[in-house]
């Protein structure tokens, strides 16, 4: 029983998100039954996948107890790169996809170098690099445009019966990146490092490499998100990623990932991302003015952050409370 409650406590974030998603989808379907068609499901999936990927990337970094404010710029950068250089031929598509993923790893590595080896506080470090990456996207592509071949676009955004390819992409990212990482030692190290950096060092964990790897994984997920956005919009836009920085944090926090590190899984952020993405759609379907969207989005965030804070208020001693001080 105690074990069960423990388990439930762990999964309370994902559970709440799952309930939220189901509720929102029901409201959606009432107002617009066609959303349950193949095309509708693909629409929902496409709308959520980018944020889900960004949320996964953010989660990896959060689990080490740091944070990444450059995720949005990384997404924009890869998006602009892909839309600018992806030709029509299969070889060039493959090359650009590979190069995009490498760019994601590279910008992640830069963050990791600055934070883990340069010992600059994560907040400032990624705040600064986000400007550098945004500047590079703007220089690469001063205005939205470029092109993405239909074949690539359809590959990522189409659907096969009830199965949207975008959901497959997310599944693939989870199967090929998340699961192998978190089933391996690296994942264990990431969690351990976020849980207690001093213990991690004393346990012989290569702490700097782990910090670096976390940022590189975040960059990789951001790159996939950027590629998906390129396919979805068939173009590049230097500001397209901006919304994902804060929203990825929101999705992760909604999904029960602790900002203090050491805790989190992939289901929570994914469900959190789906909830956040669909809710805006539903708001406009239900007829709530767009002006309310920022308000509601900010409100949801404040509510979740506040609730997490209230949980902390139960801390018994002032030392644990103040010991949790901000990054």
């Amino acid at each position: 029983m105690r074990r069960f409650r423990e388990r439930l406590g762990d999964h309370i974030g994902p559970l709440c998100c799952a309930i939220g998603v189901v509720a929102v989808v029901i409201v959606y379907a009432v107002y617009q039954p066609a959303v349950l068609s193949a095309f509708g499901i693909a629409s929902l999936a496409n709308a959520s996948v980018t944020l889900a990927l960004a949320g996964l990337g953010q989660t990896v970094v959060l689990m080490t107890g740091a944070l990444d404010l450059s995720i949005g710029s990384e997404i924009s950068l890869v998006n602009c790169f892909a839309a600018t250089f992806m030709g029509g031929s299969t070889t060039s598509i493959v090359l650009v996809v590979v190069a995009s993923l490498l760019i994601g790893l590279a910008v992640g590595a830069i963050n990791g170098l600055v934070v883990a080896y340069g010992r600059v506080a994560p907040l400032i470090a990624t705040f600064c690099t986000s400007f550098v990456y945004a500047g590079i996207s703007l220089t690469l592509r001063p205005q939205p445009g470029g092109s993405i071949p239909d074949s690539f676009a359809n590959l990522l955004t189409g659907n096969w019966g009830l199965l949207p390819f975008s959901a497959l992409l997310l599944l693939l990212a989870v199967l090929v990146i998340w699961l192998p990482v978190f089933r391996s030692r690296l994942g264990r190290f990431i969690l351990a490092y976020g849980d207690n950096p001093e213990s991690a060092f004393a346990s012989g964990i290569p702490v700097r490499k782990v910090g670096m790897a976390a940022y590189m994984l975040a960059g990789l997920f951001a790159a996939i998100a950027g590629l998906f956005l390129a396919a979805e919009t068939t173009s590049g836009d230097p500001s397209i990623g901006n919304v994902y920085t804060l929203n990825s944090l929101a999705a992760a926090v909604l999904g029960g990932v602790a900002l203090t590190g050491g805790r989190g899984g992939m289901l929570g952020p994914i469900l959190g991302a789906i909830l956040l993405s669909i809710i805006l759609n539903v708001l406009s379907i239900v007829g709530i003015s767009a002006f309310w969207q920022d308000f509601i989005e900010g409100g949801i965030l404040m509510l979740v952050l506040g609730l997490a804070g209230i949980r902390l208020l139960r801390a018994q001693s002032w030392m644990t409370l103040l010991g949790r001080s901000q990054s």
Partner: protein, 507 residues
């Protein structure tokens, strides 16, 4: 000695002005248990941290199995065959017991994935081997008690199957039965030819398990001898050195006059599991000691009085006849309490702010003239305190962090002398403090008592009680196990009360 598994030569480590360890050499053979003895701050943990790769020595060398090794990180030490149980545990609350034990050495499948089942089996076997099958290998570490965690930490070190195993105060959190289990594991390892360094403040354990004893004092090795020539008296003399004589030379203050009404009354104070019904009185002019083994509730008692627990505290705290149980430090301060913490870095002072600001922080309201601080008065007060406590500093504007540990501790005391309170709570005020500074702090405590303040002193250093306290409460399991007062206050009487049920270990 060709069969030395571990040989350290001339290890030295300095932290700023403090010499933690100076020119210490050590050699350890297979199948040998070496007990490391020394007072608090003698440098035992520093030595351990060097042998485990957590700290690099300023000078000196370490050889393992005959080959010189540069233990630049814990990983290198593990690879060299040295596993360590640190004084502060190196575990992860959100991982399971098995994941903790095997971190970095998990059983991997062909795809590089962790085989959790295998790990679980290995961890379970290991726990059974050290005689603690009651700890479930798949339990979350965060749900275990401190003693259980200590055992997990030991299992983790043993799982390396190390040539050298270092145990830094592994028994401080353990009860009698667990200590027995641990000691038999150590014996088993010795039988397998492992070399073991064992640190403990409990003489009985040393007598039971050690093959040889090395004694540190103030960072220096002051003695090493085989178990046969070991006696408690000799060890104590070497550990405490002349300081002890010097300290004993000062007469203890007179016991408090029992007729004055108590300034502080504590009645049945409880804090879930950590304090189990503590009651006592404190009278003006009295220095009341809180003694006992580490972690028996003495510190929690001080924290509770000073309002550091926000919730969960039950029972009464009565100050000058008024109920003043605090759930915030501000309330405690208003009720007339001052608190001098042991953890200088995290709880004591503002390391990067000037000394003057550190001292004046408690009296900001009193220094206010209109909107502004009365700078002249502040300077005068600070200067007076610096002089009174003989704080060695370049100027009152120097950052606190630039001072030596002892002087930092004096500054922390100074800020509560600036803001005169009725009751002073001293939490191990001499931890890591050199002999001279100790004297100043002792004198300060005596002066306060003479001025009619009530003082509660917690110390990990047993010798301080006889020279400072008129009465000592000995804590065990969050309760007062007994008390001694006046001339009865001695290390022996306190130890006797502390060990009442663990004293049998020696047998």
């Amino acid at each position: 000695m060709p069969d030395a598994v571990l040989r350290a030569e001339g290890l030295t480590k300095r932290y700023g002005g403090i010499t933690a360890l100076e020119d210490v050499s050590l050699s350890l053979a297979a199948g040998e248990v070496l007990a490391l003895l020394g007072a608090n701050g003698a440098g035992k943990s520093t030595l351990v941290k060097m042998l485990s790769g957590n700290v690099t020595p300023d000078s000196g060398s370490i050889a393992i199995g005959g080959a010189e090794r540069h233990l630049t990180s814990p990983r290198v030490a593990f690879e060299a065959g040295v596993a360590t149980v640190h004084q502060e545990l190196s575990l992860f609350g959100s991982l399971t017991v098995a994941q903790n034990i095997l971190i970095g050495r998990e059983a991997l499948g062909r795809l590089g994935h962790i085989k959790e089942e295998t790990s679980l089996r290995r961890a379970t076997a290991l726990l059974a081997e050290i005689g603690v099958p009651d700890i479930a290998a798949d339990a979350r570490l965060g749900t275990l008690s401190l003693a259980q965690r200590q055992l997990v930490e030991i299992a983790k070190a043993i799982s390396f199957d190390p040539r050298v195993l270092i145990l830094d105060e592994p028994t401080s959190a353990l009860g009698l039965t667990d200590v027995h289990r641990l000691l038999s594991v150590v014996r088993g390892l010795r039988a397998k030819g492992r070399a073991i360094i064992f640190i403990s403040h409990r003489m009985e354990e040393i007598e039971t398990i050690a093959d040889s004893v090395t004694i540190l004092r103030s960072g220096r090795k002051v003695g090493a001898f085989p178990r046969q020539s070991f006696t408690r008296d000799r060890a104590l003399e070497l550990m405490l050195g002349e300081t002890q004589q010097q300290l004993h030379a000062v007469p203890p203050p007179p016991p408090a006059v029992q007729t004055t009404p108590p300034i502080l009354q504590v009645a049945d104070l409880r804090l879930d599991g950590r304090l189990n019904g503590v009651s006592f009185d404190l009278r003006p002019g009295e220095v009341l000691g809180l003694a006992g083994l580490e972690g028996q509730g003495q510190k929690d008692m001080l924290f509770a009085l000073f309002g550091l627990f926000r919730r969960g505290l039950r029972g009464d705290v009565i100050i000058r006849g008024q109920a003043r149980r605090a759930s915030r430090p501000l309330q405690a301060i208003a009720a007339g309490l001052a608190f001098i913490p042991d953890d200088r870095k995290n709880m004591g002072g503002f390391m990067f702010l000037p000394i003057a600001h550190n001292i004046a922080v408690t009296i900001l309201d009193r220094l206010r003239r209109f909107l502004f601080l009365n700078a002249r008065r502040e300077t005068a007060i600070v200067a007076e305190l610096i002089q009174r406590l003989a704080i060695k500093c370049a100027s009152a504007d120097a950052p606190l962090g630039s001072l030596s540990g002892g002087n930092q501790q004096k500054v922390i005391a100074a800020k509560w002398l600036a803001f005169e309170r009725d009751i002073y709570l001293f939490c191990d005020p001499t931890r890591g403090v050199d002999a001279g500074a100790r004297e100043t702090i002792y004198a300060t405590i005596r002066d306060l008592a003479a001025a009619g303040k009530g003082i509660i002193l917690y110390s990990t250093d047993m010798v301080e009680f006889p020279i400072l306290c008129s009465r000592v409460l000995v804590f065990r399991g969050g309760k007062i196990a007994g008390s001694v007062s006046g001339a009865e206050v001695s290390e022996e009487s306190i130890l006797a009360l502390s060990f009442q049920d663990t004293g049998a270990v020696a047998a």
